[in-house]
C-alpha cells in the first residue's frame, strides 16, 4: 500500500474511503484520553473543594469531554462535519480551532482592558492624593495675577 493510499484511508488527502471504526485505540488515543481524564478529575476535585467558578467550570468540563469524545471516536467528528457540509473531520477541527482562538483572544483582550482600567483608577487616586498645589511650595517663580 502506497503512502498516498494510507493517507487517503485516514482522511488526510481527499478521495479516501472513511476508515472503519476500530475497536482498539491507538497509543496516541490512550495517552490523550488519560491526560484528559486527569484534567477532568482535577476539575471535579476543584468543584468538591468549592474553588471553581460555576459558569466557567461547566464550560471547561464541556471542552474536555468534547475533546475526549473527538479523540476516542474520530468518526463522530467526520459524521458531524458531513452533516454541516464540511465533509472532512480534520477541516471541522481546524475551523473550530480558529474560531476558538478568536474568541479566546477577545476574552483576554477584555480582561486586559479591565486590568488596565483598575491600574488607571489606582494611579489616578494616588496622583490626586499626592497633588502639589501652588501654596504647597513657595519656590514658584511667578505670582498669581489677580
Amino acid at each position: 500500500m502506497t503512502l498516498f493510499q494510507r493517507l487517503a484511508i485516514v482522511g488526510v488527502v481527499p478521495g479516501g474511503v472513511a476508515a472503519e471504526p476500530n475497536s482498539t485505540m491507538t497509543l496516541f488515543q490512550w495517552l490523550a484520553i488519560t491526560f484528559l481524564a486527569g484534567l477532568l478529575l482535577l476539575e471535579i476535585w476543584e468543584a468538591i473543594r468549592g474553588s471553581a467558578q460555576r459558569s466557567v467550570w461547566w464550560l471547561r468540563i464541556a471542552v474536555w469531554l468534547t475533546t475526549a469524545a473527538a479523540i476516542a471516536r474520530p468518526e463522530w467528528v467526520t459524521s458531524l462535519a458531513t452533516t454541516l457540509g464540511i465533509h472532512r473531520g480534520a477541516d471541522l477541527v481546524t475551523y473550530a480551532a480558529v474560531l476558538l482562538l478568536f474568541i479566546t483572544s477577545l476574552y483576554f483582550y477584555a480582561r486586559y482592558l479591565r486590568l488596565q482600567h483598575q491600574i488607571t483608577v489606582l494611579t489616578r487616586r494616588m496622583a490626586i492624593l499626592e497633588a502639589r498645589r501652588p501654596h504647597d511650595d513657595e519656590t514658584s517663580e511667578q505670582k498669581v495675577q489677580p
Partner: protein, 217 residues
Amino acid sequence: MPAYNEGSALATPLAALCQRYRHIVVIDDGSLDDTSAVAARFPVCVVRHAINLGQGAALQTGLDFALAEGAALLVTFDADGQHTVTDIETLLAPLRRGEVDVVLGSRFLGSAVGMPLHRKLTVKLGVLFTRIFSRLKITDTHNGLRAFSRAAAAKIAIEQNRMAHASEILDQVHRHRLRYCEVPVRIEYSRASLAKGQSSWAAVKIACQFLLGRILR
C-alpha cells in the same frame, strides 16, 4: 493641561496661561523628563501619574481633580504650545451665557497655521467617522481645546486611556444629550508639535481602539 515629556515646551504656554488665569492644573502623565519640575516653577497645581497612562487618562484625572476642587467651568488645553490662550474666552462665552454644556474648538472654523495636507485629510476622515458613529454635526475632531460646564464634566467618564479619548468624549456628548457648539480657534503647528502628533496610521489604530472599546465596554 495634560503633559507627557513636554519639559522643553511647557514653560511658554504655562507662562501665557498664568498671566490670565489663576486655577490651572498640569497633569504630568508619568513623564521621563523634567515636565513636573518645569510646571512646579509656576503657580499651578501639578498632578503626577506614577506611570504613563495616556492623554485620555490624564484628561480624566484633570477633570476629576478640578471637579473635586470646585471648578465651575473647565477647559482642556494642550501642553505643546499649539493653542492660543485668547481662544479660551471664546470657548467660555457660550458656557457663561448658559447656552450649551460643552464647547468644542474647531480649527476649520478658525485657522490652522502650518497644518500639513495629510494631517488635514486625516482629521477630515476623523470628522466623517464621528458623524457616522457619534452622530454629531461637527467640523473638527481630536482638537484638544474644549470647555465643559461642571455638570457636563461630571457626566463625562473617559475610559479610553490613549488617543481614542477624543472620539469617546464626542460619543458621550451625544449619549448624555449634552448641548454643544463649536467655536473658531487658532492652532499653530510647530515642528515639535508635528513630531509628537499622530500619524495617519495611528488614526486607523485610534478608530479600532474606539470601536473595540465600545464593543467590549
